[in-house]
């Protein structure tokens, strides 16, 4: 019976549901009077059930309504962003709308999370029928899907907005002579633009769970196309158009500045090379000292050995009479041997 509650979150059919239940209960009540306590408890719990479920449905319907309103605002924002006239840029309104939509979506996110918690708590504490739990799960899923769709649309609108702004910038550079001034002070002019765009687009960054990756892609891309963020090399600015005079003046100055930077970096590299050279040479100096010590040791050893050998030679040469004595002893032994054999 409760499963037959419609899945539409707009229309609150709780009243009908309650009436049906009342009528059914009246029909069951006489039969269930046998177990009054259990019935009372069932009644109470069923009433609680009803209240809980009605609360669930209330919140679900509120969320659905809010999602609807948000998507309406989003369509208005999309229309505003689509307007590509160069001079009539409703930046202020677009930014306000963006902020408002972002807040709403974050509020809807939290409300949906609460709803989910409520549903899980309901499913946990009471023995609802399987259909009830399926229904509540389905309702929550539907709401989540719609919120995600809205978020995706929001992200698309932001993408379109940045593209339009880029087109504006290009057109402005082409048409107005003030464009040259803007390009002469690229650091001053375009940085605030990039910072502003980054501020407006990085604000949606923290909360968007499905679109965070693409929003973060938007921000560095916007800064990159500004061509003047300090992260990029200045050599990129040489690629600007050179048919105009003032950019050529800039290019000349910038090329000089770039050449200076190159010279400075080359000098730094040379410095490091020299340092490495000095380190290597000092290490090798140590090795050379070791070699020297080894050679000295060798010299000492060889001299000692030579003196020993010289002494030996002396002893050998001066010991001749001792040797003769030994030989005589040997010959004596030989004689004795011969005598024994023969």
């Amino acid at each position: 019976m409760s499963a037959r509650h419609g899945q539409s979150s707009y229309r609150d059919r709780t009243k009908e549901f309650i009436d049906i239940v009342e009528s059914l209960r009246r029909s069951i009540a006489p039969a269930a009077n046998i177990v009054p306590y259990g019935n009372n408890r069932n009644d109470g719990s069923r009433r609680e059930d009803l209240i809980n479920k009605s609360e669930f449905n209330n919140r679900a319907s509120k969320i659905g309504l809010a999602i609807n309103q948000t998507s309406q605002k989003l369509s208005k924002l999309a229309k505003l962003a689509k307007r590509t006239s160069v001079f009539d840029d409703p930046t202020q309104e677009i930014q306000e709308l963006t902020v408002v939509i972002k807040q709403e979506i974050s509020a809807l996110n939290t409300a949906l999370l609460d709803l989910q918690v409520l549903r899980s708590s309901q499913n946990g504490e009471e023995n609802n029928s399987r259909d009830t739990s399926t229904h509540s799960t389905t309702v929550v899923d539907v709401l989540k899907n719609r919120l995600m769709d809205t978020t995706k649309d929001f992200k698309d609108v932001l993408t379109m907005r940045t593209e339009n702004m880029k087109i504006h910038e290009n057109r402005r550079q082409l048409f107005s002579s003030n464009a040259s001034k803007e390009s002469t002070n690229p650091f001053v002019r375009q940085r605030p633009l990039a910072a502003k765009a980054a501020a407006s687009e990085s604000a949606p960054l923290p909360w968007a769970n499905g679109s965070s990756s693409s929003s973060s892609q938007l921000v560095p891309w916007k800064q990159g196309e500004g061509e003047s963020s300090p992260l990029l090399q200045q050599s990129q600015q040489q690629q600007q158009q050179q048919q105009q005079m003032v950019p050529l003046q800039d290019t000349y100055m910038q090329s000089r500045a770039e050449a200076l930077h190159n010279v400075e970096s080359t000098i730094h590299e040379l410095n490091s090379i020299f340092t490495q050279l000095a380190t290597m040479v000092s290490q090798q100096g140590e090795i050379a000292i070791r070699i020297d010590q080894n050679m000295e040791d060798t010299l000492a050893n060889v001299e000692g050995a030579q003196s020993q050998l010289a002494r030996y030679l002396n002893s050998i040469s001066s010991n001749r009479w001792l040797m003769m004595k030994i030989f005589f002893v040997l010959i004596a032994f030989l004689m004795i041997f011969l005598f024994f054999v023969a």
Partner: protein
């Protein structure tokens, strides 16, 4: 990397044709019969570009196979005809130098010039010859080039130092082996010397 001509003109503010104050051109690589027409061409294009260059502006125009660089400084304009390989920055620093030199040597007399002066200015001709190499004109380029050469030399030095290190290592090995061997030799000699009493 070739400069074909250098011109100094006085640019009247957009009313009349610019007046040529000095002219130096190097037409040696053209055939003999083309030289005069090339000179005319240089004069004409130089006048046109100079008249179209607003004051305090630099401009580079591509004309057939030449790049024409013009720098207009308060009515005194320097124009240079270079080929495509000549770096733009060096070209403009060269024009700067030419203008400085001209103002130093001629002062303000040029402002009253009404017709093309035909006397050659030796500085310009020798500048034309000297600055065929863009490094001469642009100090930055020269410094960069020298730094690059130094870096190459240093790389070679480091390579040779590494080789020296290897040789030193092998020397260390050999010398330590030698000292070991000599030590063994010494011990052996001492041993033979100690127990020789019987023999």
């Amino acid at each position: 990397m070739k400069i074909t001509a250098l011109l100094v003109l006085k640019c009247a503010p957009e009313t009349s044709d610019p007046v040529i104050l000095a002219n130096a051109s190097d037409v040696s690589h053209f055939g003999y019969f083309q030289r005069s027409s090339v000179k005319e061409f240089v004069v004409f294009v130089g006048r046109t570009v100079a008249s179209r260059t607003p004051p305090s502006q630099r401009q580079s125009v591509q004309h057939e196979e030449y790049k024409v660089h013009a720098y207009n400084r308060n009515g005194l304009c320097a124009v240079g005809f270079m080929d495509d390989h000549y770096p733009v920055r060096s070209a403009f620093s060269l024009l700067n130098q030419v203008l400085d030199e001209y103002q130093k040597s001629f002062g303000e007399a040029w402002r009253s010039a009404k017709e093309d002066s035909s006397q050659p200015w030796p500085y310009l001709t020798e500048a034309l010859n000297k600055f065929q190499d863009p490094a001469e004109a642009d100090k930055l380029l020269k410094i960069q080039r020298e730094l690059d050469e130094t870096k190459i030399i240093l790389h070679k030095t480091i390579d040779s130092v590494l080789a020296r290190g290897e040789k030193l290592d092998s020397l260390v090995e050999k010398s330590s082996d030698l000292s070991m061997a000599s030590q063994m030799f010494y011990k052996q000699a001492k041993k033979t010397n100690s127990c020789c009493t019987i023999l």
